[in-house]
Symmetry: C2
Subunit: 341 residues, 2 copies
């Protein structure tokens, strides 16, 4: 139904090749002919068929965003990430295709690579390491450019864009220490392997720098698959013989939930207990008290991921793109001075 290059060819009395060359500014076409072609193309409303073009050029000008995680658990982040991803892709004449239900399914990722439906893949929130080393090899084998977001990957040859979680945790901890806290609780989430590892390292570094001994009792490994896991971490810590005076929680939503748990237990924040979140999601700013937290520069991370991926697409010999972006400490009202007793 739509007008094809063949239609143009007939009405103009020119060959398809000439039309194509004129429209793409390639090859030998006199300027007079080019004008004629352009004019006719506009008048007839010609637009090349994407499929035909893709088939011939062996590229799709599309980037796949593979969300490798239950999507409603990361939609908050997606909201901040997608604008950056989509706009910078479109500036480069690419578009984003969403793939949300192929978590951990290697067959489907393989098929995606082989179908050449996309020119490159952004892997968002890869599952735990053990399951993914194979994933990256798989994409490499299929020669599909790819980049991981927003987590770092402990392989020299895999590209990623991540935030500096170690520094984030260090900043939060140092902030608490500067407020006079010395017993600082720390929530771990071992399932997000590298992130957890980095944050814990930052926490330990800050303690060392502050001359505070590391107390294992203050470090709780949570299990986000258990219900009410937020309460468990909180209660375990507060039921300690010597409870902490400040706690770093793993995410803002957890800290927000703890805000009401604390109120229910009659614990005032920040007077009795300082708490911090992580990530700097929107809602962390409107709680009472507002959360002290660390913000990942998600919009920039999105831009950078796209730019790096495009570089990998353009030149497959380019070195792996590994970026760790600085985070920003946001001090709000959920952290306060600790008055020694």
């Amino acid at each position: 139904m739509p007008v094809t290059i063949e239609d143009l060819s007939k009405t103009l009395g020119l060959s398809r090749s000439t039309i194509s060359k004129a429209l793409n500014d390639r090859g030998d076409v006199s300027s007079r002919t080019r004008e004629r072609v352009l004019k006719a193309a506009h008048e007839l409303g010609y637009q090349p068929s994407a499929a035909a073009r893709n088939l011939r050029r062996q590229r799709s000008d599309k980037i796949g965003l593979v969300v490798n995680y239950p999507i409603h658990q990361v939609s908050d982040f997606l909201a901040e990430l997608i604008p950056g991803l989509a706009t910078s892709a479109e500036e480069a004449a690419y578009n984003l295709i969403l793939y949300t239900s192929m978590a951990g399914n290697e067959t489907r990722i393989t098929n995606l690579c082989r179908s050449r439906e996309v020119d490159g893949i952004i892997v968002a929130w890869p599952p735990r390491l053990s399951e993914t080393a194979a994933l990256y090899r798989l994409m490499s084998d299929e020669r599909m450019p790819h980049i991981v977001l927003p987590r770092r990957v402990p392989h020299d040859d895999v590209s990623y864009v991540a935030a500096d979680h170690k520094e984030g945790a260090r900043l939060l901890t140092a902030h608490l220490i500067s407020l006079g806290h010395r017993r600082i609780g720390f929530e771990r989430l071992p399932e997000v392997f590298e992130t957890d590892h980095d944050r814990h390292a930052g926490y330990a570094t800050a303690l060392r720098q502050g001359g505070i001994n590391y107390d294992p009792a203050l470090v709780i490994a949570a299990d986000s698959s258990a219900d009410d896991y937020e309460a468990r971490t909180f209660n375990t810590l507060m039921d300690l013989p010597q409870p902490p005076t400040a706690i770093l929680f793993f995410t803002d939503p957890v800290a927000i939930k703890v805000l009401s748990l604390a109120k229910a237990r009659g614990i005032r924040v920040p007077d009795d207990l300082s708490i911090t979140g992580f990530d700097g999601v929107l809602s962390s700013g409107v709680t009472e008290p507002a959360l002290t937290t660390v913000r990942q520069p998600l919009p920039q991370m999105g831009r950078l991921a796209v730019e790096s991926l495009l570089r990998l697409i353009a030149d497959e010999t380019v070195e792996p793109q590994q970026h760790t972006l600085p985070v920003e400490l946001i001090i709000r009202r959920s952290t306060g001075l600790h008055i020694r007793t």
Copy 2:
């Protein structure tokens, strides 16, 4: 580089047609041959080229999500919408392609239609009516199935999925009336034409049902392009000789901002003033006090939009799909009894 149907053909000594028919379960192929083909396809890692397939079948199994609005202004909603959209699309073996920077650009939408890159289009947050009547005609002319989300459209022949804003405003207003309020402020946002109109109608209906006179002084038309427009609405109303005892704000974020404005003016919520938001975004639940609001069923709306669009794609003679979904009143702590003085 990837293995093609021709490779399969060579290694099996069968024609391409037979291979294709075997793989797609079409036409006459003996079960013995089919098995051979399937086995070889699996062993060689054959996956059909998306481009070739699209070209021949004249369809792409892709749905375009055209975000016709500054994307970072709607990313909150996108976060709740996209999971529903993406997963239900993928259940039907479709994928979502994002287009975020073609707001109001008819040429680019036309080109998208003509390139047949997508089989259907979801138009999210269409700009004001006057600019879009042409848009819908354009897509119809190009025979591109399309559906508008999440706003209704005043054309009988355009499909849409929207929430019942009229009922939402009526519920909120009736709730306030039942709490004893009689002077109820109402913020309008004329630029979101139909939505504003519907909500205002719901507000008026509730007043009438409650036997309360409509007072034009209590209805403020805001202009979201002005900075601090939240403060303007709020101050205008509270500076009235007889200020309202309750106000309906147009969105949750506005109401949240007003929460702190009120505190700054020494106005207690809900003791001195009840306020409500609209939309039920995540952060509305964590403020102090938490917001009474109305929730649009965004996940279901996303599902329904996809399902309806697929119906339009499958059968272009099907009647326009117009859905208005019920909303849910969420009563929280920002609204309270009004004690007559």
